[in-house]
């Protein structure tokens, strides 16, 4: 019996810029399995890093190494190995919550029976049982965010990336999400949260403060 290989995401010398301004210049970091929280002011590059890891943006230099078997961000990884929760506009507006989950599950190659069991479990844990046949437009912001997390988790991803998952949510909604992340992450899952919400710090195994990366002038500007 061999030991299970430790999973991690490696960012090697990543450089990325929007226009002329660098967001990252030779950034390197290794994210282990468990929950990592990236905190920092708006514009410090938290969301950009998540998008680079997901393959939604492409670094101008350097590379992202994903855990086995993915290696690098591909379409297959996005379909089967990645769960991503955007800050806004997460749900398909014309599909019910169930359909939103089913669509992602089927793209990940999960059978409909397994998808049903998992979605029922996630809806129960997130308090969305009575809303599963509703369309996103009839839900509150908190309910939509919880549904988006359920959709990211239905495929038991090996990488879960959440961009400001509790932004604008009340304590009750934040507590539900925190509980879910603490209890329902798939084994070996690398979960990276980007947030400036202090309420999430207590569930993080590692906290990375991006403010420390900012140049002094920009830091002062952000603080002001």
């Amino acid at each position: 019996m061999g030991m299970k290989e430790e999973q991690f995401i490696e960012c090697n010398e990543i450089s990325f810029r929007y226009g002329k301004e660098f967001v990252f210049d030779s950034f390197s970091h290794t994210f282990p399995a468990g929950i990592s929280l990236i905190k920092g002011y708006s514009g410090c590059g938290k969301s950009t890093l998540l998008k680079l890891i997901a393959g939604y943006l492409f670094p101008q230099k350097g590379r992202v190494v994903l855990p086995h078997p993915w290696g690098k961000p591909t379409k297959k990884f996005q379909r089967e190995g990645l769960g991503f929760v955007f800050q806004q506009l997460n749900l398909l507006p014309l599909a019910s919550l169930s359909s939103n989950l089913n669509l992602v599950a089927s793209l990940a190659g999960i059978s409909s029976s397994i998808a049903k069991v998992r979605s029922d479990d996630l809806f129960a844990k997130l308090g969305l049982v009575g809303l599963k046949n509703k369309k996103p437009v009839s839900l509150s912001g908190g309910q939509q965010q919880r549904a988006a997390i359920a959709r990211a988790l239905i495929k038991t991803p090996s990488v879960l990336l959440l961009d400001e998952p509790t932004s604008g949510l009340d304590d009750a909604n934040t507590k539900v999400i925190k509980n879910l992340l603490q209890t329902s992450l798939p084994s070996g899952c690398i979960c990276i949260l980007s947030s400036h919400d202090h309420r999430l710090e207590e569930i993080a195994d590692e906290i990375i403060d991006f403010n420390l990366r900012l140049p002094v002038e920009r830091h002062l500007k952000e603080v002001a």
Partner: protein
């Protein structure tokens, strides 16, 4: 497969929702495409009908027929005799020279007849045309339908009376009779009309239609050499050239018209598709974030565009059938040519060019979307 069905259902819902939300955008696309298709169909049909009209004219005239008409009407003009000059044509076929008097004859029932004066050069042809010497018992005869054959008819030509025998006219004479009876008078009996103007003409039927072109060229060269510059020559050769010209023009019009239709469709469908894509950009990016290939999303726009264009194409074909007779009757075409039972240019099989043009236009119209879909998800979604 299940995921593809789910995506297809979702995207169909999306299309339907957009149609219901902005029916104007759908109607604009369909109506413009129908109008353009209809214009193109009528343009093509116009050419086809013109070709058919010319073909019919050639068929009815005969591939071996030539008619020469001198447009000079003065008797005082000094020049060689046309009938004598071209008399060697008698060796190549039926050579019938005649003069048309610019005075009509009046039959006993007050009907009018054209007066044809013939001379010795016309006799062999006249006998041949009438079907033998026994058919022409009298030198003055009336070739007319609707009168009993061999009946004697008293005919007045400007105060001069002739007793003419009625004969059945050969069909080839319709080119000179212009649907009127023809009174044939020998030159010897027509001297009383010397002071009247006449038009010298020649009807020639070549034995070999393949030689007609060469005969015409020789005749024209000879007439030019002898100073006959006011001669009107009618022959199928000219119409065959005309037919080739129409066909050539049709191809050019198809290419230019097709290009015009395609370009307009690309511009209209393309801009509306881009407009809708921009409205829908977040949902599209979300799909891409799930790992869906752009091709599936492109298919949504392609299928919608193809569906609308196919619907427009079919509607244009049906509308064209309805308006065919009205439009081309107004354009002056013979009603016989406008019978859709005998010639239907609005069948699918007849319009593959237009159909393929619309297909290509649909593909080109979604090119901007293909380019837009290259934008990374991370730059669209927050």
């Amino acid at each position: 497969m299940r995921s593809l069905i789910l995506i297809f259902v979702y995207l169909s819902k999306d299309i339907l929702k957009r149609w219901l939300e902005t029916p104007g955008a759908v109607f604009a696309r369909v109506l413009i495409a129908i109008s353009l298709c209809l214009l193109f169909l009528f343009l093509q049909t116009g050419f086809s009908l013109t070709e058919q009209a010319v073909e019919k004219k050639i068929q009815s005239f005969g591939l071996n027929t030539m008619i020469l008409r001198s447009t000079s009407i003065s008797k005082t003009e000094v020049r060689p005799s046309l009938d004598e000059l071209l008399s060697p044509l008698a060796e190549k076929g039926i050579y019938f020279p005649f003069s048309s008097l610019f005075v009509n004859a009046e039959l006993s029932d007050k009907k009018r007849a054209r007066v044809v004066i013939y001379n010795k050069y016309a006799l062999p042809a006249l006998i041949s045309l009438m079907g033998g010497i026994e058919k022409v018992q009298s030198p003055v005869f009336l070739a007319a339908y609707g009168y009993p054959e061999a009946m004697r008819e008293r005919i007045k030509v400007h105060n001069v009376f002739f007793d003419a025998e009625v004969v059945k006219p050969p069909s080839v004479l319709r080119f000179i009779s212009l649907n009127k009876p023809l009174l044939f008078i020998p030159e010897s009996m027509a001297q009383v009309f010397e002071r009247f103007s006449v038009q010298e003409s020649i009807l020639f039927l070549s034995e070999d239609s393949g030689e007609l072109k060469e005969i015409i060229e020789t005749t024209e060269a000879l007439l030019e050499k002898e100073g006959f510059d006011r001669i009107e020559l009618t022959s199928p050769i000219k119409w065959i050239g005309e037919l080739d010209g129409i066909r050539e023009l049709r191809l050019k019009a198809q290419a230019i018209g097709g290009g015009f239709v395609g370009l307009l469709i690309v511009l209209i469908f393309g801009s509306i598709a881009i407009f809708e894509y921009r409205q829908n950009i977040f949902a599209t990016a979300l799909f891409k974030s799930f790992g869906l290939h752009s091709i599936h999303l492109i298919m949504r726009y392609l299928i919608e565009s193809l569906f609308l264009l196919f619907l427009s194409f079919w509607s244009a074909l049906e509308l064209a059938k309805v308006f065919h007779r009205i439009v081309f009757k107004l354009a002056g075409f013979d009603l016989e040519l406008l019978n859709l039972a005998t010639f239907n240019p609005y069948q699918f099989s007849e319009n593959f060019f237009l159909l393929s043009l619309l297909g290509v236009a649909s593909l080109v119209a979604i090119l901007p979307i293909c380019i837009a879909l290259r934008k990374p998800v991370g730059k669209v979604l927050g």
